[in-house]
Chain length 346, copies 2
Amino acid sequence: MRRSVTIKHVAAEAGVSLQTVSRVINNGPNVRPEVRERVNAAVEKLGYVPSLAAQRMGGSRSYLLLALNDRDRTIEGWKSGEGTDWVDQMLLGGMLKSAEFGYRMIFELVDTHSSQVEREVQAAISALHPDGVILTPPHSDNPLITQLLVQMGLPFARIGSVAAGPGFAIVMDDRAAAEVATTHLLDLGHQRVGFITGSDEYVLSGARLDGYRRAISNRGLPLDDDLVGRGDFSFESGVRAMEAFFALESPPTAVVASNDQMALAALRVANGRGIQVPDGLAIVSFDDTPIVRFSNPPLTAVVQPVAAMAAEAARLLIRAKAGDKDLPPGVTIPFDFTVRRSTRAD
Amino acid sequence: MRRSVTIKHVAAEAGVSLQTVSRVINNGPNVRPEVRERVNAAVEKLGYVPSLAAQRMGGSRSYLLLALNDRDRTIEGWKSGEGTDWVDQMLLGGMLKSAEFGYRMIFELVDTHSSQVEREVQAAISALHPDGVILTPPHSDNPLITQLLVQMGLPFARIGSVAAGPGFAIVMDDRAAAEVATTHLLDLGHQRVGFITGSDEYVLSGARLDGYRRAISNRGLPLDDDLVGRGDFSFESGVRAMEAFFALESPPTAVVASNDQMALAALRVANGRGIQVPDGLAIVSFDDTPIVRFSNPPLTAVVQPVAAMAAEAARLLIRAKAGDKDLPPGVTIPFDFTVRRSTRAD
DNA sequence: CTGTTAGCGCATTCAA
DNA sequence: TTGAATGCGCTAACAG
C-alpha cells in the first residue's frame, strides 16, 4: 500500500520550502519562473495532487460546492423512473463547471417541509464546509434556508428563484417563455388557448401565468378565467384541469401546460376523448424532460436550461469565494423553445 | 459569520476532554454511560457535527465513497436527454445507502479510453482519499484501474463485472435475464427470435448472448447465426442490425435487444416498414430506462437493478473499511422482468 | 521573492 | 475509564 505523496515530498524533490510549493499549486504570486518550473516538474514527476481535506484544514477554502435538492421530490422522481432529468442536468452543468475550477460539487437531499430543515442544512454545512451552496426549487425560496446561509456568511445561489434577496438568483425568464409558448399557439391561429398553472409553492408558477396572460392581451384577445386551470405539477392535476376545459361550452383548441407531467395529462385526456393532437388540440409543454420527446406525438416545449443554470451558479459561487466583488446579483439564462409535432400539422 | 462549533466547544460544555468527546462520537468503548450522555447532550445542544476534513486528517477514514463513471458515455447520455437514468439510479442506491452509515458518495467521471486513466483515477483518489471506490461499466473491467486500486490497497466494487478478480463483483445475472427474455418470446409462440448484442467492450454483452442461446437450445430450436445481430448499444447499430434481419429470407418475428436504445431502434425500423409491434414483431428490451415506458407501444424489458447494485456496493465497501472480514467476494442482485405491450397482444 | 512559524479539527498513540 | 501529547497535509501570517 503506497503512501500518498504530499507537499513535503514535492518540496524535497524540488529543493524548496513547503510554502513555495503551496504558492505554485495555488498560482500564487512571487515565485520566480525558474523555481515555478522546477516545482511543477517535481509535481509532475511525483504525480502529486493536493489533499482536499488538508487544503480545507489549512486554508480558508474547501473546493467544495454543496447542491441542495428537495428530498421527497427527488427520490420520488428517481423511484418513479419517469425520466425527469433535473438531477442529471444539474450534474452536467454544475459538476463540469466546478471541475473547470478544480472544485467538486456534492449533491445532497434535504426535506424542505420538515421542521428540521435548518438542522439538516446546518449539519451538511458543518460536515462539508462548502465554499458555496446551490439551492434548487423549492429550497430557493425557503427563508429558513436562505437566512441560515446569510447568517453563516456562506455564498449561495438560488436556482429558479425570481424573488429578490440575498444570494445569486439564477433564473430563466419564465414569463417570457410562457409568452413565447402562448404566442406560438396564437400564431398558429388558435383563438382559445388554455393554460394550466403549476403549484403555488413555486414562484415561477405565477411568472408563467403572467407570460400567458400577456401574450393573450397583446393580441387583443379577452382574458377568460375559464381558460386558466389550476394545477400543481402532478399528472392528476393536469387531468382535472383538462376535464374542466372540456366541460366548457367552448373548450380551448390549444393549451400550454406548466410542466411536462401536466402536458402529458392533457395529451392523455385528449386521446381519451378521441381528440387528435395537434389537430383537435395543440399542446405546449414546459421543461422538456426526455419523456415529452418520446410521447406520441412528441410535444413542443419550452426547454428549461437546467445545466446552464447550474453551471452559472457554480461559476458565480466560485468567483465569489475567490473574492470577486464585481458579480451580478442575479442572472437570467436564456431558454430554448423546441417545436415538435404537438403543435405542428406535418 | 458564526464560527463553527468544534469538538473543543463540546468538550468544554460537557466538562470533559477532547478525547472523550471523540470517543463518544465514534461510539468508542470505555466511556461511562453517564459521561456519554453528558457529551451527547452537549453535542445536541451545540448542534455539533464533526468536520469531514478534520476526521480524515486525524484518523484513517474519510467517510467518502468515490463512484467512477465513464466520462464520454455519461456526458453523452446527459446531453442527448434521452432519459437514461443510470446515474440517477446509482445516486438513489449509492447515496442513500451511504448516508445510512454516515458516508457520502462523490460522483466522478473518468475516461476509460484515455491513456491517462490511471492518472485521472490516481488524482481523484489523492484529492479525496475515499474509503472505497465504486466502478461502473466499462471501468469495472479495466485492468489499469483495478490494478491501481489493488496496489493502493483501496477496497473497491465492480458493478456489472462478471469477471473474477479483486474487488467486490456486483452483478445481475445477465445470462439468466437474457434467457428469461428469450423464453418469454418462445412461450408466446415465436419460432424465430433475433438477438441484438451489445458492445464487445462490455463483458455482460457476452453473457446476454449466452442466455439467449441457451433459451433457444433449451427449446430444441436451431441456433441461426443470421438471427444474431452485432450492435454496440447505439441506436444506429440497432437500426443496422434490424435492417439486416429484415433482409433475410425469413426474418425473425421477435427480437431481444441488449439495451433500450437498440430496442427503440427495432421499434423504429419495424414502424418504418409498416410492421406492427407486437403483432408483426415482438420486442424485448434490456435495462428498462424510462423511455421504453413511454414508447408506443411501451416495451417489455429486463429491469436492471442499478440502484440495488449501487446500494450493495456501498454497503460492502463501508463494511470492508470497518474491518469486516467476512464479506462475500461478489453478489448477484436479482433482476426484474416487466411485460408491456411490445410482447403482448392486448 | 522565499522560508519559518503556527495553527486548522480531529483521531491516534500513549500515559495516568 | 479518562486525559495529554503528537501529527495528519496544508495554508496564512509573518519574517527575512
